[in-house]
Amino acid sequence: MTTLPGNLTEFTLAEARDAVRAKKVSSKELTTAFVKAVADARPLNAFVTETPEKAIEMAMASDVRIAHGEARALEGLPLAIKDLFCTKGVKTTAGSKILSNFVPPYESTVSQNLWNAGAVMLGKTNMDEFAMGSSNETSHFGPVFNPWRARNSNANLVPGGSSGGSATAVSGNLCLAATGTDTGGSIRQPAAVTGIVGLKPTYGRCSRWGIVAFASSLDQAGPMTRTVRDAALLLKHMASVDPMDSTSVDTPVPDYEAGLESGVKGLKIGIPKEYRIDGAPPEIEALWSNGADWLRAQGAEIVEVSLPHTKYALPTYYIVAPAEASSNLARYDGVRFGHRARATDDIIGLYEKSRGEGFGKEVQRRILIGTYVLSSGYYDAYYARAQKLRTLISRDFTEAFKTCDVLLTPATPGPAFGVGEKTADPVSMYLNDVFTVTVNLAGLPGISVPAGLTANGLPLGLQFIGKAFDEATILRAARATEQAAGFAAKPAHWWRAA
């Protein structure tokens, strides 16, 4: 009998799948261990809602199926779900006061796909309000803390955002894997600063139905996991074409795990020169060149490429995303669902007060930006110009992919930072997504993979960007990097003593 990890919560998703299938551990035992880990980790504030009873009930149902030889692909495996995915009968807040009592009467397609594959739900994870943030500090339910701390320091660090609760839950062994969503980097950026793998699929690969909308032309759901193999496994069961989302794409979902170990021999890896930014810490530069060296040593060819409009991506994003958000968030009016202000005697006052009380500062700021750039007299100067820039950014990638198969970049401009360190200056906060946001604007797939530690022991990630619907190749390159990097560091479980 193969040895199981000393603690069941240390399993990877793929290991747990194999162990549960081989009946070495029951789903109930596994789920019970994670339910306890979640409860013990409340100081991290990773979950908005814990669903322990539902988890045990789902696990017991899975054990019955396993006993009958009817195990499905993710049978009995406990996952955490970002609180942006609507879950039937389970509160879904999007990290906002305005939805703090919202209980959806329907299930998102992505989460339904996971339950149909047999997965177990541990709860809903904390996040930046409406996914607007890069540090999980805009949540109505308070900040999430990164399981990692700098060497010889007790200072709490942010887990990145907006999928900060999911990142912390995976990194801190509070679940086997989690779902995230990524509009400008919200899966890949928190994954990088918490030492885990995060994949944003091609726009249209996963259905957006039942995911609370932020910027509909950019939003995409994806897996957050401890290994590249787990990302391949989870994505396979999140993705689907869906009649409820007309932008979901009707191409078959490949078995991403199958080609994972094929290596990078002969693969052309592009290094975009514009991703060398002034003032980036030398550790990021070093990590990036290590990444190229590892792949070269395994037979890949490294080529320099140019993405000339890279520096315009973030400002373009901060026009396009708020514009779409101002429209999407118009539905929160205090009438049909969500927070409603008291003591208003006219309908406009009801809207204004409900929205004034229900939305936090960052969300209000972005709605105002979006309203302004779409308003008469400013539309051409801002929104129309940004949409044209988006075409140029997308063309840059098309050109680059004529000479390479996949791009290698750093995932973030630096490691996790301190809670409260960047909240005063919106633009400095936005810059955390400088390496991830281009991918959303062009609709391409990107993956962040842990690749090293800073001198003071904090994780850093590398990013691979692929051609549309070529998730298989970025997974393969990420797997080769994972092996070469041998990233085995784990955060100390300091919160258990608290």
């Binding site: 939305f359 400013y378 110009r385």
Partner: protein, 95 residues
């Protein structure tokens, strides 16, 4: 281009967000900081560039226009902050 207090009040009104008067001046600064930063987009020549309409090339899917859902009034009302029978209740709109 920069915004002033009146502009912030006007876009807050258009956005249907009650903004505390104390938030107006800080919001002017925050928005001007962001707009100053996005000004760099004006450096780029966009003559003849079409605006992005869809990131993934695909045809808009068509389907039959038919009733596929409904009859869920109780579920729809379950989250209403104020409702009576199957009606949402709002302040008086018409005098």
């Amino acid at each position: 281009m920069s915004v002033d207090k009146d502009t912030v009040r006007r876009i807050a009104k258009l956005s249907r967000i009650a903004l505390d008067e104390a938030r107006v001046a800080p919001m002017v600064d925050e928005l001007n900081g962001i707009f100053a930063w996005v000004q760099q987009l004006n450096e780029v020549n966009i003559d003849g560039v079409p605006p992005m309409t869809s990131v993934v090339e695909q045809r808009l899917k068509m389907r039959e226009d038919e009733i596929t859902d409904g009859g869920n009034a109780n579920e729809l009302m379950a989250n209403a902050p104020q409702g009576e029978d199957h009606f949402f209740v709002v302040p008086k709109v018409v005098e």
